[in-house]
């Protein structure tokens, strides 16, 4: 059997039914094998989108996302997507073609050292040197990508290796990598200490991060919160870890979070940090005011995150879901009534409808409204910028809903292709891509993929004719702006029309409900363009 066919068999063995990719000269053998297989190949329009789509697919399906490209430029185009997935710990396997193995290092046509180039943001990578290693490598790659702290793994396969003959395909049943044994269960002694600290606390608070969602611990977290009565805040990546209408839910922390959530962190006497590295964006605006006396329990599957950005008193290494399960039986209710009352008193009225600005729409009102109208299992994908923060702050979390965004790298252009992956993973769920006019244009080419596959995605475009978030920063710091003006934007409705995608443009709040109903009812992709005032602010 040809190695390329073995590769495809190994993929099927890993339960892969969909891959995102773009072909080329050094991956021909694999594409020929794919043609003969039952795996669905989604042709993107630029390789970066293949990685983002695989990421959206992974986050919605709970499986490992797979992207495939050719060598050289195909591989280097993947880089931003791989880095984006790495920063958000998304399980991906990226397969790249490579020049003939005997010619590597000679600067051949379309040769690029992609394992070297991606070294700092892949969890692991392989340059395949012998076709007989392929079954083991692919098995390991999926295992590494999906276990412990998930992340992208890259497999670079020279063209001669793809074409080589494998005598007999034997796919290993198990993986044994002596340097890789992630800790899943929490240390019992530490769990006891954590439980004791919880029982001694008066103002305990949970900070939930993306790790909660990655380990599918939402259910356990809800039980834990209900049983203990401990309130919860979350990071941007932790959005969705607890339903927004739960009485223990306080809100999102961070630079762009809610002040009551940040104040809660500052006032707490015990922080239970779950599945987050608490990076600068999340800790910003709090670190200077946190309670010095507060004790910290840090639960993370990656031991290197513990003690990296915030000090810890009780480290708990392991999988969030497993550890929460271990803890639930041991914890008792904490009397948090006073504490909760205090926290609720911090809460301000958020949606103060400002006076309507003529010819523009209030983006916060838009998100609030669509949040009410969308299904309880809808997926919303936010790009990066003001649009992202509007979406994160005003889209209500419910059990089953999913909020996707590029939190770690903050990659503009993530939204549209990630929505493609999400829709393909869950064709029956509503998928909305929230994008700014800047980020939309960074992935505009994906309109082709969306149209070709007739993906029923609502593209919610906030068109403020600016790189809004940067405009705001420049205004604040310099009082002047530079290079953020997108005034000569194309007519996006016409543009979508050229792709056969329907759309409407609205510029007043009163048009929103009808327009959104139309978007929901429409079968197939739909652009809803909301004209936003260029000076609209992110938070206020």
């Amino acid at each position: 059997m040809k190695a390329a066919e073995a590769i495809v068999k190994c993929l099927i063995n890993e339960n892969v039914d969909t891959v995102f990719g773009y072909p080329g000269g050094h991956i021909l053998e694999v594409y020929e094998a794919l043609r003969k297989s039952k795996i669905r190949h989604v042709l993107v329009r630029q390789e970066q989108a293949a990685a983002h789509s695989a990421s959206g697919y992974a986050r919605v399906s709970g499986k490992v996302g797979v992207c495939i490209t050719t060598s050289g430029p195909g591989a280097t185009n993947l880089i931003t997507g791989i880095a984006t997935a790495y920063m958000d710990s998304i399980p991906l396997v990226a397969i790249t073609g490579q020049v003939n193995s005997t010619k590597i290092g000679r600067d051949m046509f379309q040769e690029a050292d992609i394992t070297g180039a991606t070294e700092s943001f892949t969890k692991h990578s392989y340059l395949v040197k012998n076709e007989n290693d392929l079954p083991r490598i692919i098995k390991e790659a999926f295992y590494i990508a999906s276990t412990g702290r998930p992340g992208p793994v890259l497999i670079d396969i020279p063209s001669d290796i793809q074409a080589a003959e494998i005598e007999k395909l034997v796919i290993p049943e198990t993986v044994n990598i002596r340097g890789y044994k992630p800790t899943i269960k929490g240390h019992v002694g530490q769990i006891k200490r954590a439980v004791k600290a919880i029982s001694e606390s008066k103002r305990p608070l949970i900070i939930a991060g993306g790790g909660v969602l990655l380990s599918h611990a939402e259910g356990e977290l809800l039980s834990f919160v209900e049983k203990t009565g401990i309130p919860l805040v979350h990071t941007l990546m932790g959005k969705g870890s607890l339903p927004g209408d739960n009485r223990h839910y306080i809100g999102m922390i961070g630079n762009h979070g809610f002040s009551e959530a940040n104040r809660a962190v500052a006032k707490a006497d015990l922080l239970i940090i779950i599945g987050t590295r608490v990076a600068d964006r999340a800790w910003g605006g709090i670190s200077d005011q946190t309670n010095e006396e507060a004790r910290i329990i840090h639960i993370d599957v990656d031991p290197a995150e513990i003690g990296k950005n915030v000090g810890t008193h009780i480290p708990l290494v392991g999988d969030a879901r497993t550890i929460l399960t271990q803890m639930i039986d041991r914890v008792d209710r904490v009397d948090t009534d006073e504490w909760l009352k205090e926290l609720k008193s911090f809460k301000k009225e958020h949606i103060k409808r400002k006076k309507e600005k003529a010819g523009s729409i209030d983006p916060k009102y838009v998100i609030e409204t669509i949040s009410k109208k969308l299904d309880d299992n809808a997926v919303i994908v936010a790009d990066v910028g003001q649009n992202q923060i509007w979406a994160a702050r005003h889209f209500e979390d419910k059990i089953g809903r999913r909020f996707l965004t590029s939190g770690g790298l903050g990659t503009m252009g993530y939204g549209l292709p990630a929505a493609v992956g999400a829709k393909i993973a869950a064709p029956d769920r509503q998928v909305v891509a929230v994008v700014g006019d800047g980020g939309f244009q960074m992935s505009l080419y994906e309109l082709g993929t969306i149209s070709q596959n007739n993906l029923d995605i609502i593209i919610l475009l906030f068109n403020n004719s600016r790189l809004g978030m940067v405009r705001e920063l420049q205004d604040r710091y310099y009082g002047k702006t530079n290079a953020v003006d997108l005034d000569k934007n194309p007519d996006f409705i016409k543009l979508c029309d050229a792709y056969g995608i329907k759309g409407v443009r609205i510029n007043s709040d009163s048009e929103l409900e009808d327009a959104f109903e139309t978007a929901i009812r429409h079968k197939g992709p739909f652009l809803l363009e909301c004209v936003v005032d260029p000076n609209e602010s992110t938070i206020l």
Binding site: E119, L127, R178, G179, K181, A304, G307, V317
Partner: protein, 171 residues
């Protein structure tokens, strides 16, 4: 910032060295020296890495190294319980007048002369760093042409040894 000697067992395959050294440079850790070679098991290499940093940095270095899939085990060597050695080769200028005194110093240091020419002597010596530094200092008086050092390598004293098995559990 204190100095620490880490003994790191890694899979003996291509790319490992670049992964380890890349980790140090991109996370801004200071590395004094790194030496690497095969172990009693040909599939495993042992790196001896000398790093500088406070407790926080050292802990991060160990944890980040542990995250590399190819890293099997990391042990920080206790200077009291270990033998540290480095090999240095030093080429010094000589004249008829200075040769004898150089040879005398070489023998005091139990170093070896491995090459002689009309103008130079090449000395090979092993020792811990301070011995090598001291020797180099003395040779400076004669004019050093070239110094080549391997970087530190180290082993534990007595019957203690680093077993090659799976990576040790964190904490």
């Amino acid at each position: 910032m204190s100095r620490h000697v880490l003994s790191v067992l890694v899979e003996n395959q291509s790319g490992v060295l670049s992964r380890v050294s890349g980790l140090f440079s991109r996370r801004g850790y200071n590395i004094d020296s790194l030496s690497v070679g095969e172990t009693e098991d040909p599939k495993v290499s042992r790196m001896t890495i000398v790093v500088r940093g406070d407790d926080y940095i050292l802990e991060q270095i160990k944890k980040q190294l542990n995250k590399l899939i190819d890293v099997i085990k990391i042990v920080e060597l206790d200077p009291q319980q270990s033998v540290f050695r480095e090999l240095a080769m030093i080429k010094v200028n000589t004249t008829m007048e200075t040769r004898a005194s150089i040879i005398e110093i070489v023998s005091i240091f139990r170093a070896n002369i491995v090459d002689v020419s009309n103008e130079t002597l090449t000395v090979e010596m092993t020792g811990d760093e301070s011995k090598i530094e001291a020797f180099i200092n003395l040779m400076n008086n004669y004019g050093i042409v070239e110094v080549v050092r391997t970087g530190l390598t180290a082993i534990e004293r007595g019957s203690r040894h680093i077993k090659i098995q799976t990576r040790s559990e964190e904490e």
